[in-house]
């Protein structure tokens, strides 16, 4: 069977957004003019002109009134009207300064009004440009995490580094693209509106500290910043365009016209020679869009890193001596009473005392039950000398650049118990990460996979055992001395879909604990299946699972799980064990080899796979 998914999605996402477009009809065309027609027709197809109008692809168009002066989505009509306005109205540049600059550069033979003539009318714009001097621009990527559903695929936004503040200042400006969602929106409505452009979105500005607090502190995610090597004139042009967009509303498409896609279009406006967005016509994943930016020639300069809260605390703990670490734990978790002579009594140096106090202050932040300790710690810390950098901010060796691609294809071979012939397997996974995949740049110890199709072909010339996994998630969050986050797993899969259809759903909740490179989990399980071929082929099971995972030298990962399930109602055997031992090996982010021994319900399979990520 041939499945040309991308072609299908291409058609779907080109047609549906137009069909479901929101926003009323645009105002009627205002004026026309007799200008150099041939040149106008030619320039109406200019890629920068289309980008300035956000008409390069249908789903990025602006839906609020006033942005398209011609009242239509026709770039030619829009060019005619804009040129006419720019030639006849000196205040045109107050509202559309980027368009004005482009028109002047393209129609040098025409006589435009003196740019300074409308200085009074442009007072607001001129004042803004004078006060908001942007020195440089960075693209920002908060690392993935599994603590929130928002964190799995991450996010990208821009940081405008203002001339008046240091580059590292959190007073700089974050520029993102976001939709206004109603948290009480019913799920079905959210899905349909999200897919078909039912949400209104804008480019948004916020203080960078707001984003650092959200991602770095609340969600404890490392933040990666990449300076973009834009010239002053490129930055200037982008800011002019941002002025044009301040009242612009867009449709938000979860898959295509999302935050990452629109940011790419901004970069392309700043530097028209860039072609970043063309590969993302249907789906834009933030990490993939970042890779495209990083790969663009002469675009990315210095890289910076802001460690998230947990990373920072881990780095601080790593700098403590064994007695220092023990004292920290006694104070933080053991209820040891705080007094200033405690440190010297334990032989802790002044420098390490400061570090312990800094760590205590960080780790008690926001904990009302530890407010007294925090107060004592901070008061004592303020009596010690100034100093003590929390961590050295060297760019980490594991970063978004070293992460494997979101999609994968694989070729595998295997054999099942009870059959003499081997099978070959082709596999495509749309997203995202399995704990056996190369871990760099991803969440360790956890799995989050979507749309995983495996087609098997047996030596006896039959398709069997093929499967489609809609979702496979194993989210492990380690318990600590005083925090017990829930770990969970969920899987929805259709097995044997080419011969019969067995739909299996399973889920579990429990706890996990990380010990350096080893993780252990224990969960309660529930599982259901529906077998289309068996009479009354429905089963409901409950049980428990124990899991173990460990990493060796970052290249070799081993994962084992053992489930025990008992039937509440089933045509299958009442109670059964299922287990899996898997090994993943990789030396780089592009290719890995994995092998699994899966034993379930009287069947066993041995699988060997070579996986390529892209």
């Amino acid at each position: 069977m041939k499945l040309n998914l991308k072609v299908f999605c291409a058609v779907l996402f080109l047609v549906l957004p137009m069909a479901f477009a929101v926003g009323g009809p645009l105002p009627a065309p205002s004026t026309s003019t007799s200008l150099p027609d041939e040149k106008i027709i030619l320039l109406s197809k200019d890629k920068l002109w289309l980008r300035l109008l956000h008409l390069s692809v249908p789903y990025t168009k602006v839906i609020s009134s006033g942005f398209y002066l011609s009242g239509s989505l026709d770039p030619l009509a829009e060019l005619r009207v804009n040129l006419s306005r720019a030639l006849g109205d000196s205040s045109f540049r107050c509202k559309f300064p980027a368009r004005d600059q482009w028109l002047r550069s393209q129609f040098g033979e025409l006589s435009f009004p003196d740019a300074g003539a409308a200085s009074g009318a442009c007072a607001e714009y001129d004042s803004w440009r004078g006060s908001q001097v942007v020195d440089s621009i960075s693209i920002v990527y908060p690392d993935r995490n599994v603590q929130t559903s928002l964190g799995v695929f991450s996010h990208t936004f821009l940081k405008l580094n203002l001339a008046r503040w240091p580059r590292s200042s959190n007073l700089n400006i974050a520029l993102g693209f976001a939709a206004e969602l109603d948290p009480n929106e019913p799920f079905v409505s959210l899905v349909s509106k999200g897919l078909f452009g039912g949400y209104v979105a804008q480019f948004t500005f916020s203080n960078y500290y707001t984003e650092v607090n959200r991602y770095g502190e609340s969600e404890s995610r490392d933040i990666f910043e990449y300076d973009l090597k834009f010239s002053k004139s490129e930055i200037d042009f982008l800011l002019k365009h941002m002025w044009e967009l301040q009242d612009a509303d867009f449709q938000y498409y979860f898959l295509s016209g999302n935050c990452s896609y629109h940011l790419l279009t901004l970069l392309e406006i700043a530097r028209p020679s860039l072609d970043l967005s063309s590969g993302f016509d249907y789906v834009t994943v933030p990490s993939t869009s970042l890779r495209v930016v990083l790969a663009a020639p002469d675009l990315v300069g210095k890289r910076h890193w802001i460690p998230g809260k947990q990373t920072r605390q881990n780095l601080m703990v790593a700098r403590l001596s064994e007695p220092g670490r023990a004292l920290y734990r006694e104070l933080r978790y053991g209820g040891l009473a705080f007094y200033s002579d405690l440190f010297s009594a334990r032989g802790i140096s002044a420098e390490e005392t400061a570090l312990i106090l800094d760590l205590l202050a960080e780790s008690t932040r926001g904990r009302s039950d530890l407010a007294l300790l925090r107060g004592e710690v901070l008061n004592y810390r303020s009596q010690l000398p100034v100093g003590g950098d929390v961590v050295a901010l060297e760019f980490p060796s594991e970063n978004p650049e070293t992460a494997h691609g979101v999609e994968l294809i694989s070729v595998g071979f295997g054999q099942d118990s009870g059959r003499s012939d081997t099978w070959a397997q082709l596999r495509y996974r749309a997203a995202l990460h399995n704990v056996l995949d190369p871990p760099s740049g991803y969440f360790r110890d956890s799995t989050f996979e979507l749309a995983d199709l495996r087609v098997r072909y047996y030596g006896s010339r039959e398709f069997d055992g093929s499967s489609f996994t809609l979702l496979n998630a194993v989210i492990l969050q380690s318990v600590t001395e005083d925090q017990f986050p829930i770990s969970w797993r969920a899987r929805s899969r259709v097995n044997d879909f080419l011969s019969r259809a067995v739909w299996e759903n399973s889920g579990g909740v429990g706890f996990s604990k990380n010990f350096s490179s080893v993780s252990v989990s224990l969960m309660g399980l529930a599982e259901t299946f529906m077998d289309s071929r068996e009479k009354a082929g429905v089963g409901v099971f409950a049980g428990a699972s124990v899991g173990l995972g460990f990493n060796l030298f970052e290249m070799l990962r081993v994962q084992a799980s053992l489930d025990r399930l008992s039937a509440l109602q089933s045509v299958r055997e009442g109670n059964y064990w299922q287990g899996e031992v898997s090994v993943g090996y990789s030396k780089n982010a592009a290719f890995s080899i994995q092998s699994s021994l899966v034993s379930s319900w009287r069947e066993r399979s041995l699988i060997l796979e070579g996986l390529y990520y892209y």
């Binding site: 499945l3 299908f8 999605c9 607001e124 004042s127 803004w128 006060s131 908001q132 928002l150 964190g151 799995v152 695929f153 991450s154 996010h155 203002l162 008046r164 503040w165 200042s169 959190n170 007073l171 520029l175 993102g176 976001a178 939709a179 206004e180 948290p183 999200g194 897919l195 949400y199 979105a201 804008q202 948004t204 916020s206 203080n207 500290y209 707001t210 607090n213 938000y252 979860f254 999302n258 990452s260 933030p286 800094d358 202050a361 901070l378 008061n379 810390r381 303020s382 100034v386 100093g387 003590g388 950098d389 749309a430 997203a431 995202l432 749309a451 199709l453 809609l470 979702l471 879909f497």
Partner: protein
């Protein structure tokens, strides 16, 4: 519905679920387009009233969102947010005089709570001629 259609539908739904993560609930900030936004605080008349109401509003917003970390960095005497705060106040901290003063006067500044930090900072600057000078230099 044939298998192909079922498969594609499932892929689309699953991709949707994943990409729902990209939408962030957020409100548009027009602050960036306000030419009087941060950094224009005037400290030239620093004898009594250091901050204008606009300055105070900006400082209080900054303090409100960053108080806990600001507290930690003041106790330590250094940090990005502490430097930001001093910059936002409008002081020249090139020799670390202001951040050191905040470290040395930690109790006075922070023990009155979040709502008093800006006022306490104003008092601190007014009480010390070196600080008053450092906070006059920027405008």
């Amino acid at each position: 519905m044939n298998f192909k259609m079922k498969f594609v539908s499932m892929v689309i739904v699953s991709l949707f679920v994943s990409n729902a993560a990209f939408a962030v609930i957020s409100s548009t900030s027009a602050e960036f387009f306000d030419s009087t936004t941060e950094g224009t605080s005037s400290t030239s008349n620093s004898t009594k009233k250091i901050f204008s109401q606009n300055d105070k509003d900006r400082l209080e917003k900054f303090v409100d969102q960053n108080f806990d970390r600001l507290q930690e960095e003041s106790a330590r005497g250094q940090g990005v947010l502490l430097t930001d705060y001093v910059n936002l106040v409008g002081c020249d901290n090139s020799r670390g005089v202001v951040t050191k003063a905040m470290h040395d006067n930690y109790g006075m500044l922070f023990n009155s709570g979040k709502n008093q930090l800006v006022n306490q900072t104003e008092k601190l600057i007014n009480s010390n001629s070196n600080l008053a000078r450092a906070c006059e230099t920027k405008s």
